[in-house]
Structure formats: structure tokens, C-alpha cells
């Protein structure tokens, strides 16, 4: 049961084989047993979890079950929740209690989900390894000496070790897909504007998007279907987004007639050879399933990381100005004066990676540098987007490795920020273009999971889900789970 998919649990709940309370107890027990080792959760309130499960069982006895009735879902510590603290794994928000729920939290509650707790993450989602968390590093269930990816590393580790069957993450430059890849689970970043950002603590507003992290493609679709929708209180939430039948999209079992683009810039020297081999093998499998693999080029990909590391820190430098010790969050003791209050509160409250990004952003926007950095990065963003537009005239979906490497060792890249940044090289362009992207397991390299990334045109999550569902059905990677946590590897 613990490694069951969300839809399997749903079946057992609807058949009366189990109850939401039993399911909740199972995962709470696993959290109690394994979380010390993984540090995947930073906040858990078992009594509150059970209360939600009880309420769900009661609801089910009186009404038709809602789409996520009784299903446990963990959320990254970046989602504001009225219940429990919301700290974004930062000392500057230590013990902060949000007086509101994020829109997606409201939607999950309305869909009947049982919210399990808050998962670990890189501070303010800035990182690729969950090592910048103010609440301690999180570990990869496949090898606890290694990182679970980031920034949604806690959600990824929790799902991979079956401390929860599903979780929400956010993805600004790959923060759902890369941790999903390195922990062997499935994660979807929807099209920008598909999911409301309201109540999600902002990192880089023009790139951030929330999405599910689950065991299977269908589970991703189930959760996505519940959290999407126009939010009139988020001006970037798109009102006329094309609707999708989320579950129907996952029913495809072959790839006949599917044109898959294989961009040469994503299969390059310097990436892990075993990772490359796994992904190439996956594409072979797709061909067997009837797909046509078409070589394409996304020439500006090589500049995507550079553009991203101007745009994201710039937006972040402004988004994080509100943490000033006036209305909420950390204020230093006995400030001498106003300036001291600002500079010391923010020095004490922010970790070094967050400071690095704020400073990078402030520099890129500062007088005399704006055109060379910010404006230029925005223009390159246009070129990156145009590359995709051109490619999608030829192909239905694009397949790439999610990450050029498998999970690296804790501490391995912490001294060299730039190397850390380059581990996001295959996921960042998707955020710049606002496209949907999905990572699913496609094998192992060095005994560690490898992720296959699907990229679709804007609003075509259905294309991505169909391709991923067909591949999933034809392979057995999703049945693998880390033995140390009771799974089958």
C-alpha cells in the first residue's frame, strides 16, 4: 500500500476497502519512522491530518466523493496555509502563520484532499538540491548521502520514499522536474498561467508555476485537474486557457503518429553518459510505440541559463524586499536605527544563496547595467521562446533528459554556485517560454534514477501527459522504489 499510486488508493477508498483515516495513519506512521532520516517534512501536525481524514470519511458517507476525496497530499513550505506555519524554509519567515490559504490549497481542500504537512525546500525555492533550506538538508531516499534535487526536494523525497503518495511543488527553473528526475518520480509543471500563483510565496513571478509530484502520470493529471483554473485575483492567471480532459489525456497506450522532437542541444558531451544512454533508450522505446523521432534544434538553449540567472534574481530581488521586519517576519533585536533594522534583520533572516541572488538581481537592475543585463536577458528570452514556437511547427512534443546528471552528493556543489546553477540547464528554457514540462522516470544511471523530460506547446499539457502515459504503460520504471524505505528497487 505505501507505494501505491494515488489512483490506486482512490479505488480502495471508493470500494470501501480502506478509509481516509487508515490511509492517513499509514503515511503518518511512515513519516514518524523515516522523516528523521530524510528531513522531507519540516512541519507535521498528525492530529490535524487525522481530523481532515475523519471529516473526509464523514463527507464520503453523506455525499458523492469529491475528486481527491481522502487522498493525502503534502505541500511544499512555499504554499501559504492558514493551518500551521508557512516559512518558505527561511529564518526570515520563522514561525510565520499566513492569515490566508493559497488558491491551490483552497482548491485541494474543496476537492477533498487531506493536507499532510509542509515539505522541505531550498530557502525561497532558490537552489537545486534543497541544501539551502534553513531547516536542514533533505536527503534522497535512493542514497541518503545524496541530494533529492531542488528546490522541491522535500516533496520529491517524501513521494519517492512513500511518506505521502503525492505532493505539490513549484517550478521556477526546474524545481518540480529536476527533483522528480533525481528521485525517480513524476512531476508536472503546467503552462504558466494555468495555475493561480496567489498565496504561493513568490520567487520569480514571471516564471513560477505550481504543479504535482506523484508516482504516476495519471496521478499528476488528477491533481492538476483539481488545482487549475482562472483566479480573478491573480492577473497572470489566464482566463481563457484551453480546457483539457485531464484523465482522458492519460489513457493513451501507444504513440502512433506522434512526432517527438529530439533537440540536439540537449544531448551533448559533458552530460553524464549513462543519463544520456537512458534517455536515448527511452526514445527508442517511443519509436517502438509508433512515434516518429525528429531531430530538431533549439539553438538559444545554450543562453537560457544565463538569461534565467539575470531574470530570476532580478524579480526575486524585488519580491524579497517585503521581508523588512516591519509587518511580519524576522526583526533583529534592539535595532539602533531604521537602517540597522533593515540590514541586520535581512542579514540574519536570509541564507547565503538567497543573499547571493538578491545581490545579483539588484546589480543587474542597477543604473548603468540594466540594458546590458536585464533588457538583454529579456530579448534572449524572446529568442528562446521563438525556438520553441518554430520547433512546435514540426513536432507535437519534445523529449529531453530532465537533468544532465543524476543526484549528486550532499555538499558537492555548495561551494560553487555557478556549477550548481548549470545543473538546471535542461529545465530552465521551459520556464522562460512558459511551457508545460513533465519529468518521469526512464531508467537508472549509476544506480540512481534518471528523468525523461517532455515539453509541450503552451496549453497542451494533454500532449505531454499522453506521451508520458504511453511511455509509462510500456515500461516499469514507476514500480521501482527505494528498498531502504520498504520499496522494490
Amino acid at each position: 500500500m505505501p507505494f501505491s499510486s494515488l489512483s490506486e488508493i482512490q479505488n480502495r477508498l471508493s470500494s470501501g476497502e480502506t478509509t481516509a483515516v487508515e490511509v492517513a495513519r499509514l503515511y503518518l506512521d511512515r513519516i514518524a519512522s523515516f522523516n528523521d532520516e530524510l528531513n522531507a517534512f519540516v512541519h507535521i501536525d498528525p492530529a490535524h491530518v487525522l481530523a481532515q481524514a475523519q471529516a473526509s470519511d464523514k463527507y464520503r458517507s453523506e455525499h458523492d466523493a469529491r475528486p481527491l476525496e481522502g487522498l493525502p497530499i503534502a505541500v511544499k513550505d512555499i504554499f501559504c496555509t492558514q493551518d500551521g506555519p508557512t516559512q518558505c524554509c527561511s529564518n526570515i519567515l520563522k514561525d510565520f502563520h499566513a492569515p490566508y490559504d493559497a488558491e491551490v490549497i483552497t482548491k485541494l481542500k474543496e476537492a477533498g484532499a487531506v493536507l499532510v504537512g509542509k515539505t522541505n525546500m531550498d530557502e525561497f525555492a532558490m537552489g537545486s538540491s534543497t541544501e539551502t533550506s534553513a531547516f536542514g538538508v533533505c536527503r534522497n531516499p535512493w542514497d541518503t548521502e545524496r541530494i533529492p534535487g531542488g528546490s522541491s526536494g522535500g516533496s520529491a523525497a517524501a513521494v519517492a520514499a512513500a511518506l505521502t503518495p503525492a505532493a505539490l511543488g513549484t517550478d521556477t527553473g526546474g524545481s518540480i522536474r529536476q527533483p522528480a528526475a533525481v528521485t525517480g518520480i513524476t512531476g508536472l509543471k503546467p503552462t504558466y498561467g494555468r495555475v493561480s500563483r496567489r498565496g504561493i510565496i513568490a520567487f520569480a513571478s514571471s516564471l513560477d508555476q505550481a504543479g504535482p509530484m506523484t508516482r504516476t502520470v495519471k496521478d499528476c493529471a488528477m491533481i492538476t485537474g483539481a488545482i487549475v483554473g482562472h483566479d480573478p485575483r491573480d492577473a497572470t492567471s489566464v482566463a481563457d486557457a484551453p480546457a483539457i480532459d485531464w484523465l482522458a489525456a492519460c489513457e493513451s497506450r501507444d504513440m502512433k503518429g506522434l512526432k517527438i522532437g529530439k533537440p540536439k542541444e540537449y544531448f551533448v558531451d559533458g552530460m553524464d553518459a549513462e543519463v544520456r544512454a537512458s534517455v536515448e533508450a527511452a526514445l527508442k522505446k517511443c519509436e517502438e510505440l509508433g512515434a516518429e523521432i525528429i531531430d530538431i534544434s533549439l539553438p538559444n538553449t545554450e543562453h537560457a541559463v544565463a538569461a534565467y540567472y539575470v531574470i530570476a534574481p532580478s524579480e526575486a530581488s524585488a519580491n524579497l524586499s517585503r521581508y523588512d521586519g516591519v509587518r511580519f517576519g524576522h526583526r533583529c533585536d534592539n535595532p539602533e536605527d531604521l537602517l540597522d533594522m533593515y540590514t541586520r534583520s535581512r542579514d540574519e533572516g536570509f541564507g547565503s544563496e538567497v543573499k547571493r541572488r538578491i545581490l545579483t538581481g539588484a546589480f543587474a537592475l542597477s543604473s548603468g547595467y540594466y540594458d546590458a543585463y536585464y533588457l538583454k536577458a529579456q530579448q534572449v528570452r524572446t529568442l528562446v521562446q521563438q525556438d520553441f514556437t518554430a520547433a512546435f511547427e514540426q513536432v507535437d512534443v519534445i523529449a529531453t533528459p530532465t537533468s544532465p546528471i543524476t543526484a549528486f552528493k550532499l555538499g558537492e556543489k555548495t561551494d560553487d554556485p555557478l556549477t550548481m546553477y548549470l545543473s538546471d540547464i535542461f529545465t530552465i528554457a521551459v520556464n522562460l517560454a512558459g511551457l508545460p514540462g513533465l519529468s518521469q522516470p526512464c531508467g537508472f544511471a549509476n544506480n540512481l534514477p534518471v528523468g525523461l523530460q517532455w515539453i509541450g506547446p503552451a496549453w497542451r499539457e494533454d500532449s505531454v501527459l499522453s506521451a508520458a502515459a504511453a511511455y509509462e504503460a510500456a515500461t516499469e520504471w514507476t514500480t521501482r522504489s527505494p528498498a531502504a524505505f520498504g520499496g522494490e528497487s
Binding site: 492569515p99 538559444n300 541559463v305 544565463a306 531604521l338 542579514d347
Partner: protein, 92 residues
């Protein structure tokens, strides 16, 4: 690329110890050095992208929807007095 880390830190209102400044300087230089590859991209006549989609801003009706939630909203504040936020003296 030389960066005046202290100036940028002051703009960002972050205190830096000497050690931090000494560490951050080269790190920022390395990051921005990498970013400088953007300069090689030909972007003549390319419009900048600020938003991923070409969408217009939705507007909000001019209707009061919020009441007084002062007590609840000030609960997370480090220091308040009689409903006002308290900060060290602001000198204009």
C-alpha cells in the same frame, strides 16, 4: 567583472560582514561573468519578453470587498502599538 558588493548590498538593505563581502565578490563576478555570454547574442530588433504569454491585464471592479481585519493581519508583526506598526525613527 568587478562588482561593488557593498553598494549592491546597501541597495538591497543587507548587512555584509567583511568575510561575507570577501566571499560574495568573487562569486558574483563568476556568475555575472557567465551571464556576459548574453552580450554575444545578436538581439538587434528583438523585442523583450516580460511575460510568457501575450495576454492583456484583467481588471477588477471598483467594489469594496475587504473589511477591517487589523487584529488578524497584525498578529505576525514584530511590533505594534494601538494598531500602528512601530519602527525605529524615520528620519527624512
Amino acid at each position: 567583472m568587478e562588482i561593488d558588493v557593498r553598494k549592491v548590498a546597501m541597495l538591497s538593505r543587507i548587512r555584509l560582514t567583511d568575510d561575507e563581502a570577501a566571499e560574495l565578490g568573487p562569486q558574483l563576478s563568476s556568475i555575472l561573468g557567465y551571464v556576459e555570454q548574453l552580450g554575444k547574442v545578436d538581439t538587434d530588433g528583438v523585442p523583450p519578453t516580460a511575460h510568457p504569454h501575450d495576454a492583456a491585464m484583467p481588471l477588477r471592479a471598483n467594489v469594496v470587498t475587504n473589511g477591517n481585519r487589523r487584529e488578524e493581519l497584525q498578529a505576525p508583526a514584530p511590533k505594534t502599538e494601538s494598531g500602528l506598526y512601530v519602527v525605529p525613527k524615520v528620519i527624512e
